[in-house]
């Protein structure tokens, strides 16, 4: 076989790829006739929703598919067909020709070895490199990916690095052997938005300074707009559209691409759409939630001081008002939501929910009030008992609070609720696993609203969903909120989503409330430097605007 050595030839050339998985039921055709190519030094983004086959396609480049997958077609990598390589040849190609950056940096690194050892491992596997040389190379590469003080840090263990630094190390491992192409599988999905911006800068440097090609797998159109040169849109195992990034965003051809782009929530969309002050929607009356200098401390172990998750937060939610709570992971936003629902104990200050003091509350006294508080959980896959039908699950609150004697008596109300969230009433007989993620989340909303609560807490209700599904769930949410007029605490890390729904937005940073104001105020004229940085870090799904925003962010970081 001849090798591709001339510039201009693609580094990866996938032709008519079919991948089929054996399952207990019918075989699943995950990839159905995909043809793609990646040129040297370009970033090809493969986008699509979960189950579209994008990850499987990318993994086939490394020959990383499980045994029960049947791969047909050709995947030419540096002149060799990966599909037909023997395991030993495949091992030589991995690392040298192609490397991978994984989604979750905390699990991609082995916790019991130093990061230097892990980088050196790849070097030593592919050549006769002495320990000293490997270490020197590891230090060099760590410096290049922006780890400060690489000479000392090379001997540190993964847990001593932050999430963003860990992802830098994973990228360093991928770069160590100078591969021709790097496959990055959702490299920023597990990271906070400000860290994501930094990692995207690093990946851009990988392309521009190191001259590597990157296959970027993502579902985030903003990330695509920020980094990609060319985009392939996958839908149900097929590539439906391939175009240079600017063209694709400016003039999407395929219907699915248009729908996908249309479903992405844009920053400030709500503020522009409904100027007639949504804060007036809040009815007068006592606030349903009133927090004053709220503190929540998780007890520490072995006489160490506890972890202060929430630090002197004061906020109020008026009846009928939607308060958006925004922050990065570890900012304490979920903790506040759980404390309001009585799932986590508030330890200091004061937190009144429907007039009941939650600091030092007793479960028995609070239980009757629980009927007036609804909760929607983040992950629709785990928030339903897998052994109960959807109808039984939605009927649970009615049975618990004595509004219905048994499941049969609750049925009319259950059907009414499913109808309200736009689910067919026949779904009451189905089990949760037979519903898609978005349908399950809507059923979860139906369950939370079963008792007509005055307050609904939604903890990242759409972060586990695909964009097009997310749009539908948000639509149902705001429709019901307008109709039923419940107050809501909407917790999210996604500023655009919160901007769509919330009357007021509260921004949390490391347990402290740094900014609180109406949606328009916070999104258009942020006062606190952290809010400014957070807003500037959000990539928007438009390559031209995103390039400008990137420069603005760089200026902000100074």
């Amino acid at each position: 076989m001849t090798r591709y050595d001339h510039a201009g030839d693609p580094v990866v050339d996938i032709r008519d790829l079919h991948i089929t998985f054996a399952t207990d039921g019918e075989p699943v055709h995950a990839v159905d006739g995909v043809s793609l190519h990646v040129d040297p030094g370009e970033v090809l983004a493969v986008v699509g929703e979960s189950g579209s086959g994008k990850t499987v396609t990318a993994k086939s480049v490394l020959g990383l598919l499980p045994e029960h997958a049947l791969v047909e077609g050709t995947v030419v990598l540096a002149g060799q067909d990966v599909v037909r390589l023997r395991p030993a040849e495949l091992r030589r190609a991995r690392g040298r020709d192609v490397a991978m950056v994984f989604q979750e940096p905390s699990t991609a690194l082995n916790p019991v070895f130093t990061v230097g050892w892990q980088i050196a491992e790849g070097l030593r596997a592919h050549g006769d490199v002495s320990r000293k040389e490997a270490r020197a190379r590891a230090v060099e590469i760590l410096g290049k990916v922006g780890i400060p003080d690489p000479e000392t840090r090379v001997d540190h263990y993964p847990h001593q690095f932050s999430g963003g630094q860990k992802q830098r190390i994973v990228i360093a491992m991928a770069l160590a052997l100078d591969p021709k192409v790097i496959v990055a599988d959702e490299p920023t999905t597990a990271l906070d938005v400000t860290v994501q911006a930094e990692i995207l800068d690093l990946l851009r440097a990988v392309r521009d300074d190191f001259g590597r090609a990157i296959v970027l797998i993502t579902h985030n159109m903003g990330v695509v707009a920020d980094l990609a040169d060319r985009v392939a849109v996958m839908y149900r195992g097929k590539v439906v559209e391939q175009a240079p990034a600017r063209e694709l965003f400016a003039d999407p051809q395929h219907e699915y691409t248009r729908a996908l782009l249309g479903a992405v929530p844009r920053l400030g969309a709500h503020a522009a759409a409904s100027v007639p002050g949504p804060s007036t929607a809040a009815a007068p009356g006592d606030p349903v939630v009133r927090a004053r200098d709220l503190e929540i401390v998780y007890p520490g172990r072995f006489r160490q001081p506890g972890f202060r998750a929430v630090d002197r937060v004061s906020l109020e939610i008026a009846p009928g008002e939607v308060l958006g709570l925004v922050g990065e992971s570890g900012s304490g936003k979920t903790t506040i939501g759980r404390a309001i629902a009585g799932l986590t104990r508030a330890t200091g200050g004061s937190l009144e929910v429907l007039g009941h003091e939650m600091v030092g509350f007793r479960e028995k006294e609070f239980r009757p009030l629980r009927a007036r508080v609804g909760f929607v959980f983040q992950d629709p896959a785990t928030s339903f008992n897998p052994l109960l039908t959807v109808g039984e699950a939605v009927a649970e609150p009615l049975l618990i609070h004595g509004r219905a004697r048994d499941a049969a008596a609750a049925r009319p109300r259950v059907h009414e609720l499913l109808d309200a969230v736009h689910l067919p009433t026949s779904y009451a007989e189905r089990f949760p696993h037979e519903l898609s993620g978005g349908q399950r989340q809507r059923a979860s909303l139906a369950r939370a609203l079963a008792l007509d609560p005055e307050l609904l807490i939604a903890d990242e209700p759409t972060s586990a969903l695909d964009v097009s599904v997310q749009a539908r769930v948000l639509e149902v949410f705001s429709e019901l909120q307008e109709r039923l007029g419940f107050a809501a605490l909407f917790i999210s890390h996604d500023l655009a989503v919160v901007g769509l729904l919330a009357d007021r937005i509260a921004v949390l940073y490391r347990g402290e409330l740094v900014e609180l104001g109406t949606g328009a105020q916070v999104l258009e004229d942020p006062q606190h430097p952290y809010t400014q940085r957070l807003l500037a870090s959000v990539p928007v799904p438009d390559p031209v605007t995103q390039a400008e925003r990137r420069e603005a962010l760089a200026a902000l970081r100074g």
């Binding site: 998985f21 109960l388 609070h401």
Partner: protein
């Protein structure tokens, strides 16, 4: 992103008949190849022993403690013959009848022991795992302490305490069953507790808490049924251990009195001296019965274990759907 495609086939699983979703049936229908062979072999062996136990009154030519027939006392250590198919023991019992009746004793004890330990283990595990606190700490410590003892020694002590020398048919079986129970409760306790601790943090249990459900309701409706999934596995694996423990008790003389019921372990003990004098039939048949029953139950248990884990389950090979495409790319 998920690497393996989710086999979401709306309505496929739930609308299967209920019996098809029962533990063993479910796995049997999904098995192929060697795993299916193992499971079927195990099931056949177990079924044969259950039949033996149920039909013992019809099949066995003599009672388990019968020493004489219409034509006088049975001969001692008689070789297999037309009258005594598998010969007679040193005490003059018919080996064939003793082996058949022994199946009844063994299965009854195992069922009693497993049922008792499941109930105790589940209740303690649920309460301990869900409530936590000092109760949990005490129960876990006790379970660990029981673990630390050699199980046979513990069973001997318990059987002495319980039966105190008297050993009627049911008294003996209950004593043996309870002593096995004591040994196995910690295993069920451990499994159910671990599952409960995991489920306690699941969103659907928290959602029940947010709705204001009472603790008994959460435990019975949301935790219990989800916590017991792995039990069929442990039941089968433990059942084979229970058979061995019972046989061990009998062999050491702490089991059931030979006049009360037939017991393979006791018969093996009595056959020790026969081995040197070339009398093979008194030892081989009860011994083979123990080995076969344990083998059958273990085969079922092990293959259930493999089949329940999607990563270990063998699947049918896929047919190639297109002819190998363009050869060699360059």
């Amino acid at each position: 992103m998920s690497t393996t495609p989710e086999p979401v086939l709306p309505g496929a699983a739930a609308h299967e008949a209920r019996w098809k979703r029962l533990p063993v049936v479910w796995q049997l229908r999904r098995s192929v190849g060697l795993q299916r062979g193992m499971l079927v072999a195990g099931l056949v062996i177990c079924a044969a022993f259950v039949l033996m136990a149920v039909l013992a009154p019809l099949l066995a030519p003599y009672d388990s403690n019968q020493l004489s027939g219409p034509d006088g006392n049975f001969p001692r250590q008689a070789p297999p013959s037309a009258q005594f198919w598998w010969g007679t023991t040193v005490g003059g019992y018919d080996v064939f009848s003793r082996v058949l009746w022994g199946a009844q004793t063994a299965l009854l004890t195992v069922v009693l022991a497993v049922v008792a330990s499941i109930f105790l283990g589940i209740v303690l595990g649920l309460v301990s795992g869900y409530l936590g606190g000092w109760l949990d700490r005490v129960l876990v410590t006790v379970a660990d302490a029981i673990y630390a003892f050699p199980s046979l020694l513990l069973a001997i002590v318990v059987s002495i305490i319980i039966s105190g020398g008297q050993s009627s048919f049911f008294g003996g079986i209950t004593a043996a069953a309870i002593s096995i129970t004591v040994v196995f409760v910690p295993q069920y306790f451990r499994v159910v507790r671990a599952e409960t601790v995991r489920l306690k943090a699941e969103a659907f249990v928290e959602s029940a808490r947010v709705l204001g459900a009472s603790t008994p309701r959460i435990l019975s409706r949301h935790v219990l049924r989800n916590a017991t999934r792995s039990l069929p596995l442990i039941v089968t694996l433990n059942a084979s251990e229970a058979i061995l423990t019972l046989a061990g008790l009998g062999f050491l003389g702490f089991g059931i009195n030979p006049t009360a019921a037939a017991e393979w372990g006791y018969d093996l003990n009595r056959a020790i001296s026969d081995v040197a004098s070339g009398i093979w039939w008194t030892g081989v048949f009860p011994g083979a019965a123990i080995v076969l029953l344990v083998l059958g139950v273990t085969l079922v248990g092990e293959s259930l274990n493999d089949l329940s884990d999607p990563r270990l389950r063998i699947r049918r090979r896929l047919p190639r759907r297109v002819a190998p495409a363009t050869k060699g790319a360059a």
